[in-house]
Point group: C2
Chain length 664, copies 2
């Protein structure tokens, strides 16, 4: 301990689990750092954020600014993929204390002769200890010192230096850093590429894409499908597992326990005689076909996301080659998946308590590395919450060290703390409870938890109105307006969103039976033949939503989300902005797909640096209509039969005659 350090630094934020886990950012984001900083007595302090990029030994320093209640803030920008590290240091700034006090003395006309000498000492010490002061400034400081010490001159003639901006500026620029208190722990930032923060996902089963009905689709069919996906404006095309599917205990149509001959089985029952997680299901095509697809997609601005589901069919090569990776039962059999009394005999889960865990971890990591090598940079991970949490931490961190541009989406639908921990372990994006949040209260409470708490630092939501596993009750009992409502909410509340199509845009909403949230005749167990030309499909509105997202940077972040009062439980109103407020989007969604609703929005102009007394224009990007609004309270009306959503772009000012050149 150095007892001369008087400054205390507490509560550095952001800080996840006392610094155990990194926070997340994308390229060019700002990291806002804050801390409680104070010392005894009433000296003035100087505080800095220290930050460095991975591998750098020397940290850069950014000054922090003081706010009420001993709160200090500073920020820095991250410009490279990988890891940055930040911490905080502060010290008692004797120059600033002296400067503050002598100004008070001059003001109060008390004697300050000795204080001039004190100032001269402080400046001299700075000159001695701070090597990088330019010669010009050095000469200036020396002249001030002489002046302060020149007892020949009357006091009041020696204080020009104190009162000059230059003295203050030079001393601030080259501070004497002594007896520094520094937070020893460095906090990590994982910096990812922009798509980590802004992405539009479309999920499709390749085997259903053969244009000739019930035949098995191929990667080439996916290539032919790309223009459809690109036209709607999606930039990630996510495919369920493409590996060989097991035959033993294969599931049939509608999850029946035994498959009829010729039934294709579930793509999540991975592994057959053709191979496991590094092989391709022969009916989909070859590795070359797959790489061609990845390439063609990229040409059209689409990235292929692969599904990684770490579980094995009884026919998976691991079962023979590494039986120690599975749980052995006393009768010599391997433990299949189950949720007693339900059994999933087509799948063996991996045993993360195996004594051979190191080899298991390495092998699983090598699956990601194999596909990264084939050009895949986005992975959607199936049920990560049924694999050891620490395994994910190790795997993702290890892979990202080499490939910081790889994106991992966590599919966990489980308890909140487990979902959050998976995000802390390193998943880039996460599935959420959005799928079941339908009321105004539920939507606002949940979104506020995601964007207004420390969750925002490590958990990037990806909102899905449906998945092949979940046909939410709401979609089962709603109409077209209800579908539009849900996709518009997903696409505007969260900068990352996705849908399982074509089921979504073709409004498939029949469950296996009432009370279940499984699709009837689910594509998980059979090849589907979708009718893309179906009347009233949602392709156009989805295209429009994605275009609006592309054209409005405000919708390319999730964290600027703010909800606004509107006195109608059926209407939800929120805004998104860019940090500089150059783009402001105001969304009003009707949660009632059947009846017309209206209400008065309270849009707090001051928060958007807008003038109460100047009318402003809002432009509905869906309908194309323009409205001239005035003040905080403005009226909206929604007829869901026409369009259940307004997406307004707010123009902060409308020109008036006073803006005309010759007005004055």
């Amino acid at each position: 301990m150095d007892g001369q350090q008087r400054v205390i630094i507490e509560n550095v934020k952001p800080q996840i689990n006392c610094g155990e886990f990194p926070i997340k950012r994308v390229i060019n984001d700002k990291v806002n750092v804050s801390a409680d900083i104070f010392c005894d007595s009433h000296d003035v302090l100087t505080a800095e954020v220290l930050y460095r990029y991975q591998g750098e030994k020397q940290a850069r320093a950014v000054p922090m600014k003081q706010f009420p209640n001993d709160l200090w803030k500073g920020d820095f920008q991250v410009s490279k993929l990988g890891s940055y590290y930040y911490t905080v240091q502060a010290w008692v700034d004797h120059f600033k204390s002296w400067h503050r006090d002598i100004l008070k003395r001059i003001d109060a006309q008390t004697d300050y002769g000795v204080d001039l000498l004190v100032g001269a000492e402080i400046i001299n010490e700075t000159l001695k200890n701070t090597s990088e002061i330019p010669a010009r400034d050095e000469d200036f400081l020396k002249s001030i010192v002489s002046e302060f010490r020149n007892r020949e001159k009357p006091l009041e003639d020696r204080i020009d230096g104190i009162l000059s901006q230059r003295l203050y500026q030079v001393m601030i620029n080259y501070p004497l850093k002594k007896k520094i208190s520094k937070v020893e722990r460095e906090f990590e930032v994982t910096v990812e590429r922009l798509k980590a923060n802004f992405s539009s996902w479309y999920e499709v089963f390749p085997r259903s894409l053969n244009p000739n009905g019930d035949q098995h689709g191929t990667f080439n069919d996916v290539i032919n499908f790309l223009p459809y996906v690109a036209d709607m404006g999606f930039d990630v095309l996510y495919l369920p597992p493409i590996h060989p599917i097991g035959k033993t205990n294969r599931k049939g149509k509608n999850n029946s326990v035994t498959a009829e001959p010729g039934e294709p089985g579930s793509p999540w029952a991975i592994g057959g005689k053709e191979g496991g997680h590094k092989a391709i299901h022969p009916e989909l095509g070859t590795m070359d076909d797959f790489q061609k697809l990845v390439h063609e997609a990229a040409e059209q601005g689409i990235e292929i996301a692969m599904d990684i589901a770490f579980q094995c069919s009884p026919d998976h090569p691991y079962v023979k080659d590494h039986p120690q990776w599975f749980r052995q039962r006393p009768d010599g059999s391997l433990q299949y998946a189950e949720n007693p009394p339900k059994k999933y005999e087509d799948i063996y889960p991996l045993n993360f308590e195996t004594d051979d865990w190191q080899n298991l971890w390495e092998e699983l990591k090598s699956v990601f590395m194999f596909w990264i090598d084939k050009g895949v940079k986005i992975f959607r991970v199936d049920n990560p919450h049924t694999k050891s949490m620490r395994f994910w931490g190790w795997t993702i961190q290890t892979i990202k060290k080499e490939h910081p541009d790889v994106i991992f989406l966590s599919e966990a639908f489980t308890r909140p703390k487990v979902m959050y921990n998976l995000a802390k372990q390193g998943f880039t994006q996460s599935y959420t409870y959005f799928t079941w949040r339908n009321t105004k209260y539920d939507l606002t409470t949940y979104c506020k938890q995601l964007v207004n708490t420390e969750v925002r630092e490590f958990f990037r939501p990806n909102f899905w109105p449906n998945t092949p596993d979940i046909l939410p009750e709401f979609l089962q009992v709603t109409n077209r307006a209800g579908f539009i409502q849900r996709v518009a909410l997903a696409a505007t509340l969260s900068s990352n969103y996705g849908m399982y199509g074509p089921a979504f845009e073709l409004m498939d909403n029949t469950p296996t039976k009432p009370g279940k949230e499984e699709y009837l005749n689910s594509e998980k167990y059979e090849i589907k033949n979708w009718d893309y030309n179906q009347q009233n499909n949602l392709q156009k509105i989805i295209k429009r939503l994605n275009k609006i997202r592309q054209e409005n940077k405000a919708l390319q972040n999730t964290h600027s989300l703010k909800f606004h009062d509107i006195e109608n439980e059926a209407l939800v109103c929120f805004s998104k902005t860019t940090e500089d407020l150059s783009n402001i989007i105001l969304v009003v969604v009707s949660l009632d797909p059947y009846h017309t609703h209206s209400g008065w929005i309270r849009f707090p102009l001051e928060e958007f640096e807008m003038d109460q007394h100047v009318p402003f224009q809002v432009h509905d990007l869906l309908s194309g209509s323009y409205f001239l609004w005035n003040g905080d309270h403005n009226y909206v009306e929604i007829n869901p039969g026409i369009m259940p959503v307004h997406i307004f772009r707010v123009r902060r000012k409308v020109r008036s005659e006073r803006d005309f050149d010759y007005f004055m």
Copy 2:
């Protein structure tokens, strides 16, 4: 890393600054520990709080209980002064998972033959690895294993063991702890004596206690004053500094810059030719007199608290012997205290940035040790926030290692984070903003911050309605009811409270000038001659309050404080309870000392385990009146001219005819 540990433990609470600082308890308190504990998949977990007393190598384990949202809780009791350490561990409990699942299988009538064998394996492994199972239980477990493995018998005849409470109980009592996840950091609890949590302070200037008017009072006069203090019910008598007072630049009456000959000076200008912080002001008496006072006070149930003010008059021996401990000015003088442009030339502050800081710290610590040796166990520390924070951490911790029964009260009136940090550094109790909290909003907001946040774990408030430095504006403009209101609030809101007497009970309330909060003719600068027989003085009501505190354990803690709704801004209503609810105190205070107010209290009976349908009795311990109340809402009326406060003891049940022996 051990990859086989699947359990994650996060957010262990209480935890101050990530474990940097201890939490505080008194003897026999409970420590409630919680954590978020979970693992992948859906196995059942077992979790324990581990705790140990200082010096013990082996920690004891207490089982934790699971609550919704992956929250687990456990507690332990602290029974010895000093430090305890706690942490949390948890593991996947394969027995419990197996037990839960096989019960489901039996229920669903699915096959569980292999599961019986799995159970036999788990029990066998437990038998092998857990040495302390008693022979009886061991035999029992072995018989269960044989039963499970006995394929001769039909399945349904082999499950009695599973269904028996005994199997579950034995396996829970001797769990197989494997692949344990443990939080490596231990969290500290400082355990202090009961007075740390419940104390009633009375501050008096010994020099004003000479019964013959203006002569200098002595320790013997304090001895004669003890019965007065004891009669009012105080158990700590706190004396301003008793050391020699400096002569150089001595302050006169009402803080005038120069003292007239014969003026006594401020006791806080410490040090003269007779000595410094280890010496006694000759006019007060000798060291023997002082020790006699400490002894006599103890006989009457009173502890003497000393004031430690680490600052020096220009005549203090340190100034000559250790000039390096003060700030030198370029003209060769030492830097006096100041708050520019104000100067306090009778005092030199110590320079905690001195290169000789180690010797300074040791010397200051030795001041405490000196007086501890003389029998003092309570120190009120003057302005600790003008001395280095880390110095306090080191000093208090070092002293408490040897003398865990010593109590330190922090006098800081400064910014919240500084006050809280002093408490974290180790101060037992702290002055607060209560002195300025007069409105209902201010009182409730402030008290909630103290008792409903993590502040409760390290900051023990001590509420003072006045001090020699602060005659609050409220007292200046109020009447007798206002004084009663303030002392009743202090004495009931906080289990630690104090007052500067006789100024308080004699209702001295003249400031130096309007707008100032300094007492006119303050005892800080002169000897006062109080008229204890003054009409209308508050001795009796204070005595009553202290008696109520003594007789009601609910008022001997601060943390059970709950505010209750009452629809009148002039009335504040709150309760205090013992943990077992055997003592419930309900307080209603009128903040308006002039007018009668009434209102309906909402006293939420269910929170006090009381029956909505059974009338209950409240007994006003101040007036002696009894009231029979019914349900949640009850009417109160306060005429401040009679008594501005109700302190009700709540009797949870009133006997009725149904309680009479022959009723049934």
